[in-house]
Symmetry: C2
Subunit: 716 residues, 2 copies
């Protein structure tokens, strides 16, 4: 907390600027603001004549910088309004005349208040510290390398404001050029604590004053003695964040539990006619094996799929936990009204025809009715959802019944179908598959809160095009991710993708770098594409958590060893430097021309025992934390023989209490495909014809484990 006097001084400045009708603070106002929040700025003064400028410069010592002072010119450099390196009185006079003339030439209507004479800081590293107001995430702090480079190379990192000191410190390591801050080629590093304090100061400032919608400290000159903001720009605006109805975790859980584990389900718009959505939903509920009550609602029928049909939900005797709605869009608001009157706490709105088709009013109407009655709802514009522990298929798609630890959600129906097909094909064990569609109410953070408490779920994978309330999601993700890995596929990463998302859901896709940094900081494992999200979801709950960073490759094919090593580097894995005794131990099992070290190259043409012995050694030695295997199909050790020996040795170790992540790449003829399937069934992620995919999976597990603080690394 800052002393009230600091806040008061900033408050005054803002009020004065606002009263003046200005959106940008002047340089002198900005200086007051910086000083109030502990942000260092250079010595300076404003001169209205050339001689005043000379006097000021001589007071602070040459060299100095001259900058035109004008409320109308934001980009002074572009306007020619800046002169640097002024080293004497005559030069000062010339500069005074030049910058004022340039400013007038740039914009003849600009008011010119004088020339700012500023102490010139030389040397040091130029960095940028900024803050902005994001529609999804609110106040964000940005940090990057200064000058034009940040704009060309986009080497910048973001965090939510306000920042803690550790978080600010993590930003210094969050840029590609981080090494520059630590010093290279005999140059000293910068004063990191000074930069941290600048970042923290800016983050507190914009948090205390939401009306500061943008802050731009560019450049901040940092050297080994400190960090000084040479040029500072603050923009004022409407800092009010869009507020989203907030529910307590208890409220969320109570509604979500009745939605996912209902004793009684109503289907509004149930139909007896095959091909109708309301019929598919009924069939899936009945045939999926749901053991609770199923009540079709349709005024035109008396019985559907062997169940008594009601004219209205009001007619159903007893409590109903969730209503699945499969009627035309224009009837949905009325249905929610009935659902509310019946005190049904949750609804699943399948119909499309709302915001995604431009019908924003219709969507606002159902939100209003639902809020009035306290009804939580999924959708609209969704395929419904699956929850396997309750054998609940509340969807018009085909049933799915391979129960397992992964909960998946998708914003889009097409992606939902891809999830379903992949899950079936890969025998992916699923706790839930949930369509979120327009997310007019229930969104990802509600789901996270439910899956957090759901014992059937150990891993969560989410496809999203946007987040409605970024802060709520990050708060939930940060809480849940250390216990249950959260995988996110964020669509609309690129400008083209964002445009496409715009036309699809009307949702604005945020700047991808913002999502990337914030998701990582919340411990989320981001998937670069759909297939990776699905494969991560398959492998992450299967792989045990590694106890440390030491990865060892054991390979029958030297060529695979090289590619697996490349893949380890690409995926941020550390190949253990092989200790001498362990090297000698491996060598006892492999031919003299084989290579120990790491990869351990057992060479091709070796019998099963060589694989077995080296793998057992790798699993048994506690200095090794994970194994990457490269199998080479030969007559001596055919694929299924390899798979069997591997399962054997891994399960022996598991029984002995040793469970390390093992992944395998199988190079060989088509028999390797069946071997991979068999290995997957025994929780050993294995892929044919690729040296990359198994390592990508191990890398994802490590990313999660590091972010969850399970490998001794700090969460950033």
């Amino acid at each position: 907390m800052h002393a009230p006097s600091s806040r008061d001084r900033v408050q005054e400045v803002i009020e004065a600027a606002t009263a003046d009708g200005r959106q940008a603070l002047s340089a002198s106002e900005a200086r007051v603001v910086c000083e109030a929040y502990g942000i260092a700025v250079p010595a300076e003064g404003v001169a209205t004549t050339a001689e005043e400028a000379v006097a000021l410069a001589e007071g602070m010592g040459y060299p100095v910088v001259a900058k035109v002072v004008s409320p109308d010119i934001l980009h002074k450099t572009e306007a020619g309004g800046v002169r640097v390196g002024i080293s004497g009185a005559e030069e000062m006079r010339v500069a005074f005349a030049a910058v004022t003339a340039a400013a007038r030439a740039y914009d003849s209507g600009a008011r010119v208040d004088g020339v700012l004479v500023q102490q010139m800081l030389s040397g040091g590293l130029e960095v940028i510290v900024g803050a902005t107001t994001d529609a999804t995430f609110g106040k964000l702090v940005a940090f990057g390398l200064g000058g034009v480079l940040v704009e060309v190379l986009r080497d910048v990192t973001f965090r939510l404001a306000p920042l803690g000191e550790n978080e600010a410190e993590s930003m210094l390591d969050g840029i590609a050029a981080a090494a520059l801050l630590r010093g290279v080629r005999g140059q000293p590093g910068v004063d990191r604590s000074a930069l941290v304090s600048t970042l923290v100061g800016v983050s507190r400032l914009v948090t205390d004053f939401p009306e500061i919608v943008e802050a731009d400290l560019n450049p901040v000159l940092a050297d080994e003695r400190g960090a000084v903001a040479v040029d500072v720009r603050f923009l004022l605006g409407d800092g009010e964040a869009v507020s989203w109805p907030a529910h307590s975790d208890e409220e969320i859980l109570s509604a979500m539990r009745r939605m996912f584990r209902p004793r009684s389900v109503a289907v509004i718009g149930a139909s007896a006619e095959a091909g109708k959505i309301g019929n598919s939903v009924m069939k899936n509920l009945v045939n999926g094996g749901f053991e609770g009550e199923i009540h079709p609602v349709n005024p035109k029928a008396t019985e559907i799929e062997g169940r008594r049909c009601y004219a209205s939900v009001a007619d159903i005797e007893g409590d109903v936990d969730v209503a699945v709605v499969a009627i035309p869009a224009k009837l949905v608001a009325g249905a929610i009204e009935e659902i509310g009157r019946k005190r049904i706490p949750a609804a699943v709105l399948i119909p499309s025809g709302f915001a995604e088709t431009g019908n924003a009013e219709g969507q606002a109407e159902i939100q209003e009715v639902a809020q009035k009655w306290g009804v939580r709802f999924l959708g609209p514009n969704i395929y419904g959802f699956y929850y396997t522990p309750a054998k609940l298929c509340a969807t018009f798609c085909t049933p799915y019944d391979v129960a397992g630890p992964v909960a998946l959600s998708s914003q889009s129906g097409g992606i939902g179908m891809a999830i379903l097909g992949f899950a079936r094909s890969a025998k992916l064990g699923v706790s839930a598959i949930v369509g979120l569609g327009n997310k007019a109410d229930v969104d990802e953070d509600d789901l996270l809160t439910f899956f957090e408490s759901d014992d059937a779920t150990r891993c969560i994978a989410m496809h999203m095009e946007d987040l409605k309330d970024g802060r709520a999601f990050l708060r939930a993700a940060r809480r849940v991710s250390p216990r249950k890995p959260i995988i996110v596929l964020k669509a609309g990463r690129t400008a083209a993708g964002a445009r496409a998302a715009g036309s699809h859901t009307g949702a604005l896709a945020g700047d991808d770098k913002v999502y990337d940094d914030l998701l990582r900081a919340a411990g989320v494992v981001r998937a670069p594409g759909l297939r990776e999200m699905l494969e991560y979801a398959r492998c992450l709950p299967m792989l045990p958590t590694p106890a440390g960073e030491n990865v060892v490759i054991i390979t029958g094919a030297g060529g695979s060893g090289v590619l697996l090593s490349d893949a380890c580097t690409d995926n941020g894995l550390s190949l253990m430097a092989m200790p001498e005794d362990l090297d000698a131990a491996f060598r006892r099992f492999i031919p003299p021309f084989g290579a120990a070290g790491n990869p351990v190259d057992i060479t091709g043409g070796e019998p099963p025992a060589t694989y077995r012995n080296t793998i057992a050694l790798g699993l048994g030695d506690e200095r090794i934390h994970a194994l990457v295997l490269g199998y080479w199909h030969t007559i001596v050790t055919p694929p299924m023989v390899f798979a069997e020996l591997l399962v054997d040795v891994v399960e022996e170790m598991r029984e002995a209490g040793i469970d390390k992540p093992v992944v395998a790449s199988l190079a060989g003829d088509v028999e390797v495909e069946a071997a991979c399937e068999m290995l997957f069934e025994h929780r050993i992620p294995s892929y044919p014809y690729t040296t990359e995919t198994p390592v990508v999976m191990l890398g994802a597990k490590y990313r999660w484990a590091r972010a969850a603080g399970l490998l001794g690394g700090a969460r950033t």
Copy 2:
């Protein structure tokens, strides 16, 4: 060509330095060299006293730079031997004393010859121009952004020396920060022709004088008026490149044709005993359907696999084109001697036990004997090779007979088996699969030369860990790639991979950025991993060459459209800005709430006709050059119905002479897998559960087409 006098001046400088026992040229020598090759340097002079320094500085005008002159100190900045921004006489005197003192403090034994006073160039952009001598590629020129940034961000690009002007120009666009050179935020761009001339000058210099093993112009200050090399360093050394036996293209073709299309094959070490390599080779030759003569050679047998067996190749009547050798390593040299005497021009050396196991002498011996007799050979340490047009399986692996347009090679046996398995599983049509192993003779450029002339081959995919003769490969690749796509998987990309490659083949993996730039400049499509190499090999020959850059996405699932758009951006594809008339034409086929534009979102739940009509429109309009399709599995248009309508409309268009690249992403239940297989059979690359892979394939085709100059872009 430079005037002899320029070369003579450089020759003199080098001779003087060499006579002096120096490896580094002095600053004044470097200046002579630069001037001889048209490389601009700043005004300067050497002062041995402070007063001389003042006189020099006043001659060229302040500000100036002072640098200690010492043959013993290479990194002057690190030694504190540089002062910049000296703006007056007194400062000059102080600087003179300071830099000499700092140099002596840094290295008390260093000889100090004086202080260089140099015109100080201010402003402008710091870039680096360098040259180095690479074991694989010989003389290379490097270009990057200067200062410490190039070292931290590694934003640097390489080309072979000597450079043409267009190639030098391509280097300016070859760095991530290329936009800086063109000018950003009101800053002017640099004089590109001056940089080009510096790059070309350096490249000619190191070509003319191979003994200049390293050149380092750092920084070169570039602004809108020119480019001046402020600090220059040349290192002398043994510039002799390792020479590799050179064969003319005719010689290569003559031997390779007899190897790949023999009329008569001898198998030295043929065996009747199942499980022996010499037996597997015989069986594969016979059962694979090879129609030429097969002569087993084994002194202990009279008949193998129904063929008369010879005690020695010498006993075989008539010509033999190729000998497959399957005997222990220590007998191979003797066998080559016999092969040579029999005038057999080609051998396939399967045995291991040579350089890869440390037996470098054994490998040198077989090279020597083979060269004496003019025998060209594959291997040693290989699985052999397949050539399907001749039904030739000269290998101990399982036979393969799906003939098609792709020739593949691998340096490693394990990768060879992965190629075989994938090919069989994906029904990849293959002309050849070749093991290269230790590459003691035949290597990738020989293969390229053969496949270039081979009508059965339309695409070439190569796995490599190193190149023996990088220049020969690039020359062949540059020639072949515009007609037949060349895909390269370079293993050992990373430091860890390079170390693993070292232990595997004894081959030094070069710096990856060098490979990356040079392969791209030769028109090679580089695959990031094994699976991509295999999928590229499958898709590139299947996809027609696009006529231009305009890609359109047509999708049933809006969510897929977003992910497909992301993938297009990631893969360098341009989504066409939809012309108004075409937009209107699409809208006629899709529901009012569907989105035209690009992606064209036909929305889910549409009947086959909607897919059909929009796809036909996309194929028929000549402004569209390629289609990316996103299918969403619904009851209305099931997967196989979609596949059939797509094949139908694409084949109709093909018959009408319109053949555009079409790729598809299928989101749906498991039936989409069969639909994808069916689409592949009709040359439409299609993948289930992924929005990335189909676009990656189209992107690879575009990369090839651009490099081949087929899209109007310049080859760089």
